[in-house]
């Protein structure tokens, strides 16, 4: 138990990273002589702090100050609504909400900590007294985020003590409050490497220009982030030696496109999820992963997650898996009794390689964001003109997949004979979805159908992808 600050100092050999945001730079070394917290002594050991700072930089700094000091930190991505924020704070038992702007919305019951933009000099003893829990948010079936609890040791895993090149400069398209981005943040913090952070709403070409100017050597994102980068026409502005993809299925086409765009770079696609942690990395430039990764008689290579395929889905057991789900103040297990977490990712063995075939239960991955069909179907089914509906994934070259809906109208025959009535129903359903759901969950297409297939047990037959 060292806390992130001390771990950073030790593994970086006394070198702290520099964070480069949009229009601002912060040398982490400055935190050695002070704090950005308004009153560091006011934060109790048992406190839970929700980090809801909008921009990434204040959270990047606050994590260094709070890990090892408080009981729990909750990382909130910027798109969280105020209703979701209140629900998350309540579920986490939060005491404080750290914000970067004093005008940020109040959440009842939470004391607001307005983080300073500059360090206020103070004598601060940075000693860790506990293993702080790091809470990450992921999509849930109900539209409210699920709280996934990690510890620094689990999150950093193999990164701790791993030397990286002294000249490495990291960046990521991800927000560091998501698992994929947090991995890059920790790599920078634990190696002393500079980190270039994106800004919410920043145009891709502007970000790539900053990344290029900073001389970034290592950069990560989802396949959707990378397609967006290629489409921006500004990919040539960066010259990375290491390109990493995670968070979605990396198909052969995006791997080939990146190979052409960055012929000298090492291109790695990693399997990771907020719950299961980092599973493995694939470095041969091919989609899928070698069958030899799946645990055989010899067991896994040291430090690598153990992989199993059971019932067609990938299972993972590793020290990097999250500790538990936090729900209504209670702990809920993520893993089965054997310690394996079901990732819900369907895989298929072809020759000596496994390929990803979508998600169990029809969960749709739209550009790295999960969509549970049931949540969208609940909105569609709330219309009295709808008998039942099915939301499923459709492949898409930009975001990997999008959601589409099939709807059985209550008066199917009547609607089928009356095209204007059908068009009105579709329009109304799409409007209802737009009002009730974030944009990535709104079906791209609603199709009226006469019936949907139902199993003997009375459940909708869900396609697997």
């Amino acid at each position: 138990m060292r806390g992130l600050w001390n771990a950073s100092r030790e593994s970086g050999g006394g070198v702290f990273p520099r964070f480069q945001g949009r229009g601002c730079t912060f040398d982490v070394n400055d935190l050695a002589a002070g704090s950005i917290l308004p009153d560091p002594d006011a934060i109790r050991r048992q406190a839970t702090v929700v980090l809801a700072t909008g921009e990434q930089l204040p959270t990047a700094l606050a994590l260094l100050e709070l890990d090892g000091v408080v009981r729990r930190v909750v990382l909130c991505p910027p798109e969280l609504t105020s209703t979701q924020l209140a629900a998350v704070a309540s579920a986490a038992g939060a005491d404080f909400m750290a914000v970067s702007d004093s005008s940020a919305t109040e959440v009842p019951g939470l004391a607001k900590l307005v983080l300073r933009t500059r360090v206020r000099p103070a004598r601060i003893e940075r000693s860790a007294s506990q293993n702080t829990e790091w809470v990450l948010l992921t999509s849930g079936t109900t539209g409210m985020p699920k709280l996934v609890v990690h510890t620094l040791d689990g999150l950093a895993g193999a990164l701790l003590g791993r030397a990286t090149g002294r000249r490495d400069i990291w960046s990521t398209f991800y927000d560091i409050r998501r698992y994929g981005g947090l991995q890059i943040y920790l790599r920078a913090v634990l190696s002393g490497a500079p980190l270039v952070l994106s800004s919410p709403g920043e145009p891709t070409s502007d970000f790539l220009e900053r990344v290029g100017e900073a001389g970034v050597t290592h950069i990560s994102g989802t396949p959707s982030h990378w397609r967006r980068a290629l489409m921006s026409g500004s990919a040539h502005r960066i010259n990375p030696s290491y390109v990493r993809l995670s968070g979605e299925i990396a198909d052969q086409s995006v791997l080939d496109l990146l190979r052409q765009a960055f012929p000298a770079a090492t291109i790695v696609h990693a399997f990771a999820s907020t719950e299961a942690g980092v599973g493995f990395e694939v470095t041969d430039g091919l989609a899928g992963f070698p069958a030899s990764f799946v645990s055989g008689a010899g067991g896994p290579a040291p430090g690598r997650a153990e992989l199993r395929v059971f019932d067609g889905t990938l299972r993972l057991r590793s020290p990097r898996t999250a500790a538990y789900y936090l729900c209504d103040g209670a702990r809920h297990a993520l893993a089965g009794e054997d310690g394996y977490v079901d990732t819900g990712d369907l895989v298929e063995l072809v020759a000596d390689r496994y390929y990803f075939r979508g998600r169990q239960g029809g969960v749709i991955n739209v550009g790295g964001l999960k969509v549970y069909p049931e949540e969208v179907e609940a909105v569609l089914n709330a219309d009295p003109r709808v008998r039942m509906s099915l939301v499923r994934a459709r492949r898409n070259p930009i975001t990997g997949a999008i959601a589409v809906a099939e709807v059985v109208p209550a008066e199917a025959e009547l609607v089928a004979r009356d095209p204007p009535r059908a068009a009105r129903l579709i329009d109304d359903l799409l409007s209802a979805c737009r009002r009730a759901l974030p944009a990535h969950k709104v079906p791209a297409l609603v199709r009226l159908v006469a019936s949907l297939e139902v199993t003997d047990a009375g459940k909708l037959v869900r396609p697997s992808a």
Partner: protein, 81 residues
């Protein structure tokens, strides 16, 4: 409707549905600056797959990845839409 007209009208429809302001459409307009985000662009492509009945994005050449609206129209025209 020509491929060009279909693409233009799809951009307008998606921008309207998403409540976004579309930049004036021209061949030189960069797709990332047209006013749609990745999701909006994904919706445009999904809609064009249906209306034009082609999967134009089946490209394997990074230099062929569309950057401007003109590139995108060319991609669909070459794909035989």
């Amino acid at each position: 409707m020509s491929v060009r007209d279909e693409i233009m009208s799809t951009f307008r429809r998606v921008a309207d549905a998403q409540g976004r302001r579309l930049a004036p459409l021209s061949d030189e307009l960069k797709l990332t600056e047209c006013g749609l985000d990745s999701l909006g662009f994904a919706l445009v492509v999904a809609s064009l797959e249906d209306s034009l009945q082609v999967d134009a994005f089946n490209v394997s050449d990074a230099s062929a990845f569309p950057v401007t609206l003109g590139d995108l129209i060319g991609l669909y025209e070459r794909a035989g839409a």
